[in-house]
Symmetry: C2
């Protein structure tokens, strides 16, 4: 317990400190150390200057500073497949053991065949069916424990490292810099909200309440001992992709972001919505054009459009028309991962 | 822009200050000045001591400190009718002018009759129909402007004051004290999330992103000039009452609260869910037993159960069994409103 006069002093110091930090953009050379000089880095600096300079017409008041980040392909690696899909696929044998009739129906038949190409062609509705079969009926705490356990051992086939180490260092720096300038950083992912919340704090320093994602319903009830529980029943309440992203942002945050970051068609509406707001705005798309250090995919690369993370020609064109900044992984990032030099 | 060394100093001061503030419960006599000595005030003090004392077995880490508050009847007056219902009712003539066929069908017929008793008997599905007819089709910004305008002029029939002045001073003190002890305070209301978010910051110092409420869907689209907009289409995505409260808390916050405050059967599941968590917990119910300074209603008063804010005998009994604390407005509150002595 602190005596009242001492508390006043402490609060005064905090308030003054916060005020000092909230006046003007905070930036040091090392804050964006993994970014090369160029239009992408410059767009970030210009945005910070405009939003935090109280004399600027584009100033954004502290409490309104919101930045939203897609996850898969924007904050971490999404190839060869979304991490969450891999998690669900690995749970299928157990689900089939409980319900043998699944074995002979799609999409379970395809998954059990082990045919990786066919698995990669599964559609959203197939993935939903897999999600419902593998997750439904667990309590939310059981699910969290399961995901934690899985993440501790699962490894990416290329780097032989946990998926949680495959976040992009330049994006981590960008998030830290935005936070240092008073922005609340949110993940807005097409992935499952409950899944990403398990590791958002340890990987991105983003607390669970700042993760917006696709939402499967839960059901309140009581266990055999009469204790209240929430069980996943996996009815899709929000498909946080495409138009679902601004709708989900409104539902969970209730403010329009000033900055939004994505890498695929599923992020288009979030960037459009952000760009239509007042004050300075920043919209950026990560282009995967670095086959050597990561991957190169999407028609903007002259490569076939993959189902996940599709950076289509039309998205590329819209970015040009609306003044969105394309981040070239190859050109703009000095380093990609923290574990690499 | 602040030089790097100076920034380090400022951060260090903030961190040290925050650390000092986060060790041990922070409380001064004036923090709960509107509370009389008694079991309710004591329950709050005991809870703060247990959650913030790092040596306590019931210690709750800073980032996990979440407190959830029902709004109507818990933070502000809900009689004679929910403020939001009044807002919707006043919009009905305009809605009927646009769609004259509504005039002859229920629940619009009842509302237009002006029969206050019949209006007070409307059921949830009627209120939903009214909400859809009066709010559907507006953009979220238009809705916010409309609500702001209405709140600026509408007055409570008894006190002849804006509804936004009718919050309970003791609950305001309690929220401030919880925040001073590192708790994130959330509103978890059966009312419309978009409605409460309009004034949550000015009335309760709670930002919109910390308001969980009943959620009507929005639809992303483009206006005639091609600008992105979100339009309310008022399909009910979350009915944030009863089991919907813990489900909504999981969806929007993703953490189980340590403290929950309500006043009616609609808050029962939220309090149960909170009480089933780890560490110290605090569950409280506001009992309206003060006809002189506010209202007295509910069977716990030997009065007929009203439809809104029903504090039923079974809820009273459950509170006793589970160790929830009942706040008697009459006995526990020295002052009810800030505008009264």
């Amino acid at each position: 317990m602190i005596a009242r006069p001492m508390r006043r002093v402490v609060w005064a110091v905090i308030l003054i400190g916060s005020f000092v930090l909230s006046s003007g953009a905070h930036l040091a050379a090392e804050d964006l150390a993994s970014w090369n000089e160029g239009p992408a880095r410059q767009a970030i600096l210009d945005f910070l200057k405009a939003t935090t300079d109280a004399s600027s017409e584009q100033f954004v008041p502290l409490e309104q500073r919101v930045a939203t980040f897609d996850q898969d392909g924007t904050l971490w690696v999404e190839h060869p497949m979304y991490t969450q899909v891999l998690y669900c696929l690995e749970r299928i044998p157990a689900a089939v053991a409980k319900k043998p009739e699944l074995k002979n129906i799609e999409p379970f038949k395809t998954v059990l065949s082990g045919d990786r190409e066919a698995i990669a062609r599964l559609e959203l509705k197939d993935l939903e069916a897999i999600g419902a079969a593998t997750l439904g009926g667990m309590t939310v705490e059981e699910f969290q424990q399961e995901v934690k356990k899985w993440l501790a051992t699962a490894q990416h086939p290329r780097w032989k490292r946990p998926y949680t180490e495959l976040s992009y260092l330049p994006m981590q720096e960008l998030m830290r810099l935005l936070r240092a300038n008073g922005f609340k950083t949110y993940i807005v992912t097409g992935g499952g909200q409950d899944f990403v919340r398990v590791f958002s704090e340890s990987v991105y320093n983003i607390p669970p309440e700042q993760v917006v994602g696709s939402v499967g319903s839960t059901k309140y009830g009581y266990d055999k001992q009469g204790r209240p529980i929430l069980t996943k029943d996996a009815k899709m309440l929000l498909n946080d992709n495409y138009a679902g992203k601004p709708e989900g942002i409104h539902m969970l945050i209730g403010r329009r972001p000033s900055a939004a970051f994505g890498n695929s068609g599923g992020d288009r509406e979030m960037l459009e919505y952000t760009g239509a707001g007042r004050g300075a705005t920043l919209m950026m798309l990560v282009l995967h054009d670095d086959a050597k250090r990561e991957y190169a995919y999407g028609p903007a690369q002259g490569l076939p459009e993959t189902k996940v993370g599709a950076f289509s020609q039309s998205l590329y064109d819209e970015a040009g028309q609306r003044g969105w900044t394309v981040i070239s992984m190859k050109r703009d990032w000095k380093r990609v991962f923290a574990f690499e030099p």
